[in-house]
């Protein structure tokens, strides 16, 4: 119960500070928009090409944007040493991670859903009929990105060359998420759309394994 209560309080803080400044959401939306638009300039995709390459391009842009969004996650806790204040206050240190990864998942999902209509227009794909299934894929993929990203953000915040460290650590680790999310999205955008359960299962498995690892070892990542 203490874990849940602390997580709720900290999630409230994360949401309040972000919606007050809108720094992360604005930059991430603009970043994804730029990538998606630039890719659309490099070739004039037919419907068939969009179905083949679109999901990969979409998830690559989400992944790059995520590495940008997750960077300040723990970095800004260092400005006023607020991480120490949190560590002194919470009853379960895992609540710090849980609140951050819930907020990161929510922010990622929000920007992805905002970007979907623009992607559909630029790449001439129909998403309306499979929208709920697409949101499920986006959720599982974003959760995986947020879990690993939040953990590595905590590590890289204490390292030298921290701005470079996070993408270097994170992007290779997220290759399985990229592949599974792309395959699942491809299945939904195919001529005969269907939800690839095996890839969804893979994403869910990735999320569970990394969340468990974070729960077991997260406390050590917060130590000085």
């Amino acid at each position: 119960m203490a874990l849940l209560a602390d997580t709720t309080v900290l999630l409230g803080k994360e949401l309040r500070t972000e919606f007050r400044s809108r720094e992360l959401l604005t930059t991430t939306v603009v970043f994804i928009l730029v990538i998606v638009v630039l890719f659309s300039f490099t070739f004039d995709p037919s419907v068939g090409e969009s179905r083949r390459f679109g999901p990969g391009l979409l998830w690559l842009s989400f992944l790059f944007a995520a590495s940008l969004m997750l960077q300040p996650c723990f970095l800004r806790e260092q400005n006023n040493d607020t991480l120490s204040a949190l560590r002194l206050s919470v009853r379960d240190p895992f609540s710090i991670f849980l609140a951050k990864l819930a907020a990161n998942t929510l922010f990622l999902l929000l920007t992805e859903i905002l970007m979907l209509p623009i992607f559909a227009i630029l790449y001439n794909v129909h998403i309306l009929a499979v929208f709920p299934q697409l949101v499920l894929v986006l959720f599982l993929g974003s959760l995986g990105v947020a879990i690993a990203g939040t953990a590595f953000s905590a590590i890289s915040a204490q390292a030298r060359m921290r701005e470079l460290m996070l993408p270097l650590l994170l992007l290779p680790l997220l290759t399985p998420v990229l592949i599974a999310s792309t395959e699942a999205t491809s299945g939904l955008l195919a001529e005969n759309p269907g939800l690839p359960i095996d890839w969804l299962g893979f994403l869910a498995g990735f999320d569970i394994v990394f969340l468990t690892a974070l729960w077991l070892f997260g406390e050590y990542l917060l130590e000085e």
């Binding site: 900290l10 006023n80 040493d81």
Partner: protein, 234 residues
């Protein structure tokens, strides 16, 4: 300040050692601080003052040794739970108001009536009228007041202050000295790291000088304390 809700508590450092790779931040520091004592730690930059205080707050794990809180009539317990910690960073969120900051930390600490507690402490530190303002709009002195209020939320019996007067103007230092005096007189044990003599160091009942991670001087005598504090400030 209302009647204390804490038991007078001392703190005992036993052979504390902290290494970062091959570098020693602290070397076998042993120190017993009696309940109600106000100890000023002095020493050059890098002498180990901050590390010692952060170990006492359980923010840093020692490489060897232990820190225990000792309350009269009870067993020694791990430090941290009954400690309030103030660093030279404010440890509060700039993007939240003073009230939101205190309310959040009060809830995290499981305080029964967080709103009343936060309101009381804001009154105590003279920020009631500015409680709805974002902390980033505050002066350094006002931020430090919020920091002190945050550290007092759980009625700590031991207060750890790491260079609490950093960046404060003379008026801010006077306010801090008066506040700490009230806390000391209420029976709180205070451990603080300082640079040189000031209104705040005058509150100390004991001075300890650290050098290269070791305790090199420890006194309760007034004239010796002056020597320790001024040497470190030199």
């Amino acid at each position: 300040m209302t009647a204390p809700a804490f038991a007078p508590t001392g703190i005992r450092f036993d052979n504390i050692e902290k290494r970062y790779g091959g570098l020693y931040a602290l070397r076998r520091v042993s120190l017993a601080v009696a309940p109600g004592e106000c100890v000023a730690f002095a020493g050059r930059n890098g002498s180990g003052k901050t590390t010692l205080l952060r170990i006492a707050a359980k923010l840093v794990r020692p490489s060897a040794g232990s820190v225990k809180l000792v309350t009269s009539g009870s067993e020694a317990t791990d430090s941290g739970e009954r400690c309030g910690f103030v660093a030279h960073a404010t440890m509060v969120y700039d993007e939240l108001t003073a009230e939101e900051n205190l309310l959040m930390f009060a809830k995290l600490q499981g305080i029964a009536e967080p709103r009343a507690c936060a309101a009381g402490l804001l009154e105590e530190v003279g920020l009631s009228e500015r409680r709805k303002y974002l902390v980033r709009t505050f002066s350094r002195g006002m931020r430090q007041r919020v920091a002190i209020a945050r550290a007092l939320l759980n009625e700590p019996s031991v207060l750890l202050l790491d260079e609490p007067s950093t960046g404060l103007d003379p008026e801010g230092i006077s306010w801090l000295a008066n506040t700490l005096r009230r806390m000391r007189d209420a029976g709180r044990t205070i451990l603080m790291s300082l640079h040189g003599e000031s209104e705040i160091s005058a509150l100390a009942t004991r001075a300890v000088r650290l050098d290269a991670g070791s305790v090199v001087a420890d006194t309760r005598a007034g004239s010796d304390m002056h020597a320790i504090l001024t040497f470190a400030g030199a």
